[in-house]
C-alpha cells in the first residue's frame, strides 16, 4: 500500500490542472461552476479545445487518438477536468459510440466516424430507450427490415438526450422478431437528417428541454451503417452500457459543488449553524469515501475491464450528487423559490438531477447487479 502519487503521476496531475484551467474558455467554465445552462456551441468549443490537445478521448485505442494512460491517469484526468469546471466531452461520442466503433465497427465506419466523433464535428445521440423498453431494454420494438441493400426502420425512441442537436443517432433495432428478445437486436447508425426521422421535444420538470422523442417512419438506412454483425446488437449494447457506467460517479464535480455550497453557506453565516456544518461534514466524508473507492477501483482494476464495484460508484455517486444539489437548495432557503439569482437556479438543478438515479441503469438496477453478480444472491 502506498498513499502518495508517484512523482510521475503528480506531474501528470499538474499538467492536467494547468491545461484545464488555462486552455478551456473561462466563460464556459464559469457557466459550469455557477450551474448555468451550456449552449451547444459551448460544449463543442470545449471538446474541441480538449481534442486539439489530445485530451478528448484518452481512453480510446491509441491509433484512433487515445492516450496510453494508466487507469489512475485517466482518473486524474477526469477529476481535474471536473474540478476545473470543464464540461466533460460529450459522453454519447466519447464514452459510448466511439469505443463501440473502435471495437466492433468495420474499417469503413472507423475511417468515416472516429475522428469527427472525437472532435465533436458529429454530434451523436443515443437511441436505445423506448416507451415500453426502459429498464427492460431488450423488449424494444423499433424494427429494421432489410430491403435490397438498405434497412427500412420504423418505430419510436424516447428520452433521447440532446437529440435536438444530434447529427447522427446510434440505435438498437429489432431485426429478428422470432427469436429470444435479446437475440434479435442489431445496432444501426442513422443519419438524423434522413427523410422519415422526426425529433419531438419533451419538457422536463425543471422547465428545460434536454430530452426528445425520435420517430422513424420508413427511414431508409444504407446497409453498411450496421455496427458489427446482424443480431449482435445486444452484445454491443452491453459493452457500451458497461462503459457508460465507468466514470459515472462524478466525484470531481460533486466535490466542486459541495465546496460551492459550503462557500455560499459560509458567506451567509449559515455554516455557523451546527446542523448545517454537520450536514456538510457528513457529505464531505461520504464523498471522501466514494472518491477513495473510485481510486481503489482504478488502482486495482485489471487494465481495461470494468471493476465489479462500478455499480457502487454509480449508485452512491448519484445519491451524493443529488444530496449536494439538495443542500444547495436548502442553503438558498427562501431564495430557492424563484427569482433570478443562483438561489433560484438551485431548485431546477435539484429537480433535474433526480434523473441521475434513473438513467444509465437506474439505482434499482444497480442494486440488482450488486445483489446478483457480486453477492451471488
Amino acid at each position: 500500500m502506498q498513499l502518495q502519487l508517484s512523482d510521475e503521476d503528480r506531474e501528470f496531475r499538474a499538467t492536467m490542472r494547468e491545461f484545464f484551467t488555462t486552455k478551456v474558455p473561462q466563460e464556459i467554465r464559469d457557466k459550469v461552476a455557477e450551474g448555468r445552462e451550456l449552449s451547444k456551441e459551448d460544449i463543442v468549443a470545449s471538446q474541441k479545445a480538449l481534442n486539439d490537445a489530445g485530451y478528448a478521448v484518452p481512453h480510446w485505442p491509441v491509433q484512433y487518438g487515445g492516450q496510453d494512460w494508466t487507469q489512475l491517469q485517466r482518473h486524474i484526468w477526469n477529476e481535474e477536468m471536473q474540478a476545473a469546471s470543464v464540461p466533460p466531452p460529450l459522453a454519447f461520442n466519447t464514452s459510448m459510440i466511439g469505443p463501440v466503433l473502435a471495437q466492433f465497427g468495420s474499417d469503413e465506419l472507423k475511417e468515416r466516424f472516429l475522428a469527427p466523433t472525437a472532435s465533436l464535428d458529429i454530434w451523436w445521440s443515443q437511441g436505445f430507450s423506448e416507451p415500453d423498453a426502459g429498464s427492460d431494454l431488450a423488449s424494444l420494438r423499433t424494427r429494421a427490415v432489410k430491403d435490397g441493400d438498405d434497412w427500412v426502420v420504423n418505430g419510436q425512441k424516447t428520452w433521447t438526450t440532446l437529440g435536438q442537436y444530434g447529427d447522427w443517432i446510434f440505435t438498437l433495432v429489432r431485426t429478428d422478431p422470432d427469436v429470444k428478445k435479446q437475440a434479435g437486436i442489431s445496432m444501426l447508425l442513422i443519419d438524423m437528417t434522413l427523410p422519415g426521422v422526426e425529433v419531438r421535444p419533451i419538457e422536463l420538470i425543471d422547465g428545460g428541454h434536454e430530452v426528445n422523442e425520435v420517430w422513424f417512419t420508413d427511414v431508409r438506412v444504407p446497409g453498411d451503417m450496421l455496427v458489427g454483425e446482424v443480431n449482435q446488437g445486444w452484445t454491443i449494447a452491453k459493452f457500451l452500457l458497461g462503459n457508460e457506467r465507468v466514470g459515472v460517479a462524478p466525484v470531481g464535480s460533486t466535490k466542486r459543488n459541495l465546496a460551492r455550497a459550503k462557500r455560499l453557506a459560509q458567506e451567509s453565516g449559515l455554516l455557523s449553524d451546527p446542523l448545517y456544518a454537520a450536514r456538510v461534514a457528513e457529505l464531505e466524508n461520504e464523498l471522501l469515501a466514494l472518491e477513495l473507492t473510485a481510486l481503489r477501483v482504478v488502482a486495482n482494476s485489471a487494465e481495461g475491464a470494468p471493476h465489479p464495484a462500478s455499480s457502487v460508484l454509480k449508485l452512491k455517486g448519484t445519491v451524493l450528487q443529488q444530496a449536494v444539489s439538495e443542500l444547495l437548495v436548502d442553503v438558498a432557503g427562501p431564495q430557492s423559490v424563484g427569482g433570478d439569482g443562483w438561489g433560484a437556479r438551485s431548485t431546477p438543478t435539484y429537480l433535474n438531477l433526480r434523473k441521475a438515479s434513473i438513467y444509465g441503469g437506474s439505482n434499482e438496477v444497480q442494486r440488482q447487479i450488486i445483489a446478483k453478480t457480486i453477492l451471488g444472491l
Binding site: 422536463l204 451567509s268 446542523l275 432557503g333 424563484g338 435539484y350 429537480l351 433526480r354 434523473k355 434513473i358
Partner: protein, 381 residues
Amino acid sequence: MDFEYTDDQDSLREAARALLTKAYGDYGKRRAVTQADPGYSTETWSRLAELGGLGLPFSEEDGGAGAGWIEAAVVAQELGRVVAPEPYVVSVGLAGRLVADAGTAEQRAEVLGAIASGERLVAVAHDEPGRRWSPTAGDTKATQDGEGWTIEGVKEPVVQGGVADLFVVSAVLPEGGTGLFLVEGDASGVERESFPAADGGRVARVTFTAATAVPLGSAGENRTATIATALDTARILAANEAVGIMEVALRMTTEYLKSRKQFGVTLNTFQALTFRAADMYVSLELATSITQWATMVLEDGDAAAISAAARRVALQVSRAGRHIGQEAIQLHGGIGMTAEYAVGAYTTRLTTLDHLFGDGTYALGALADGVGGYDAVDPLS
C-alpha cells in the same frame, strides 16, 4: 382527543374537492394555467371565494366565514391534492393572519373582507435577499414623514407580488423593531419584477422607493411576535397542503407500479419497489398525524404552543415531503421527470412549500436549541 373531521368540515372538503377537481382534475389544465401569467386561475380563485373558502379563518365582523383554521386546512389539503397553483397559503394564511392579528377593526373589515370575497389579492412582502425565514425585517426601512409613512427597500421572493393588489410589508421602524404596513400595489414608488417560480407559480422582486405606506394597526408598534405567529400559521397550512400532495403522489405511484410493465410483468412484482412504496406510506401517515395535531394546536393554542407545533410539523413534513417526492419520481422512472406527467409537479410543489416558511433543518435547529429545557414531549398537555 379526536382526529375526525366534523360533518361540516367533511361537507366543506367535498365542496372544495368538487370545485378543484373540476378546475384541475385533468392535470393538463393545471399545466396550461401555470404556463400563462399570472400562474394561477383568477376564475378558480373567485369560485373558492364564492364557496367561502378564502374567508374561513376570519370572523364574520371582518367579512370572513367565522369558521377556523381547521377549515382552512381542509381547503389547503384539497388544493394540494390537485397541486392547484392558487396562492392560498400566502394570501389567506400569511397575509390574512397578519391583518387579523395586527389590523385595526377598520383595516380588518376592509382587507380581510376583500381577501374573503376574492376581490383583492393580498401578498406579503416580507422575505429579503440573504435573509432566512426571520420574523424581523432586515434592510427594508420605514420612515415617518409628518402624518404619513414611507417604505424603502427590496423584498424578494414575494409570492404573486407581480399582480398583488395590496401588500402587507414588514419594515424596520425608526425606533427599532419590525413594523407592518399596507402598501397599495399601484402606489408610486412600487416597482415589481415577476419571475416564474420553480413550482409553476410566480414570485416577484418588489422594490419600494419612498413608497407611501399605512401602518397596520397602531403606528410604530413592533410586530415581530405577530409575524412569527403568522409564519407559524402559514407553515401549518402549508403542511396541510403538503399532506394532500403527498397522499396523491403516493397514490399515483402505487397505481403506476400496478400498471407499468417491464420484463414482462407489472412493476409491483418487484419487492424492491413495493417495500419502498410501503415506506412512503409510513412517512405519509406520520406526517398526516402530526399535521392534524399541529392544526388543532393552531386552532386552540396560544402563540407559544403554535410555535412549538409549527417547528415539529415543519421538521416532519419537510422530511416526509422529500422522501415521498423523491421516491415518487424514482419509482416512476423517466416518465416522472416530464413536465407533462403530473407526479413531477407534486414533487416540485413540495420543494417550494418546504422552502417558503422555513425548512426541516431550520425547524430542527430551533428544536435542538430548546431540547434541554423539558423532559419529554407531550402532545396533549
